[in-house]
Symmetry: C2
Subunit: 148 residues, 2 copies
DNA sequence: TATTGTTATACTCTATAACTATA
DNA sequence: TATAGTTATAGAGTATAACAATA
């Protein structure tokens, strides 16, 4: 039942388990920052992307977050129902739909980020510059790992 | 607008956003490794903990994962329904319930980890030793951040 | 009264399958 | 046929509120 003997009993093996647990905990911590009655985490990330990068198609959004198009369709439904985003047909390809943030959506994206990231920004500020560099490198590594 | 253009306020701000997105993506990637019909991510992590560390009370388990006791109660319900864990009353304190993995649960914990972490272990092996150290340090930092 | 645990309920997030509309 | 998007349905994960049992 033993692990990987590369570096001694359990050492390498533990890194995977440690990473999994740490990421799950941090993800729950992020979710818990949601104020009452506001958008959920996934919806807010999409809204933030629309706010920052302008109109995107459904397929693009689903690829950005690596979720199925059907899942993304439901996320943007929450945004359009709330009046934070709108659909427009692509004039050059009638199959495509472009999603954009409304002015209200832009305001929500700004406000929500400020509220919900305040504690994270504070924590990051408290780290040493070296530790912040570790976090930045780790984030890049995670994106690579998640793609594979 | 800008991409970490300066060392000013915007640069620090970006790290938080990058971390959030990277963690969300990696978390979804972890979840997607679930084979058909098997336990979900949260349930498997609890089962793994019971397998590794022996009997735990509900409160202990909920604190381990930083979820509410009510949420953890539902997670362990899935485990007991499946026959992977059992409840026993604490003989010294009738309010407490001790949860333990069954032999079947132990087997599932071992097998599931091997299956579901295979790709992650492979990815981590592909990293340089330096990058693995970055991941390990980041995992420790995440636990600290999640606690705060 | 305080602690431990459970159930009821509701919402977010996500997936697969089946569908429509356009190219 | 292939691509873009939607809807229906289901299940995991999580929370709050209300409750019961034990200390």
């Amino acid at each position: 039942m033993e692990k990987r003997a590369t570096q001694g009993p359990g050492a390498e093996d533990d890194l995977g388990a440690q990473l999994r647990v740490a990421v799950a905990r941090l993800h729950r911590r992020f979710r818990s920052e949601r104020p009452e009655g506001s958008l959920g985490d996934a919806a807010l990330e999409v809204l933030t992307r629309l706010h920052k990068h302008g109109p995107r198609t459904l397929t693009e959004l689903s690829e950005d977050d690596r979720v199925s198009p059907a899942s993304m369709s439901q996320i943007v439904n929450r945004l359009t129902s709330a009046g934070y985003a709108v659909r427009t047909r692509d004039p050059h390809d009638g199959r495509k739909v472009l999603f954009s943030a409304t002015p209200e959506g832009d305001a929500i994206a700004r406000a929500a980020r400020a509220q919900r990231h305040a504690w994270l920004d504070r924590r990051l500020q408290e780290l040493s510059a070296e530790d912040r560099a570790v976090v930045a490198r780790a984030a890049a590594l995670f994106n690579k790992i998640a793609e594979s």
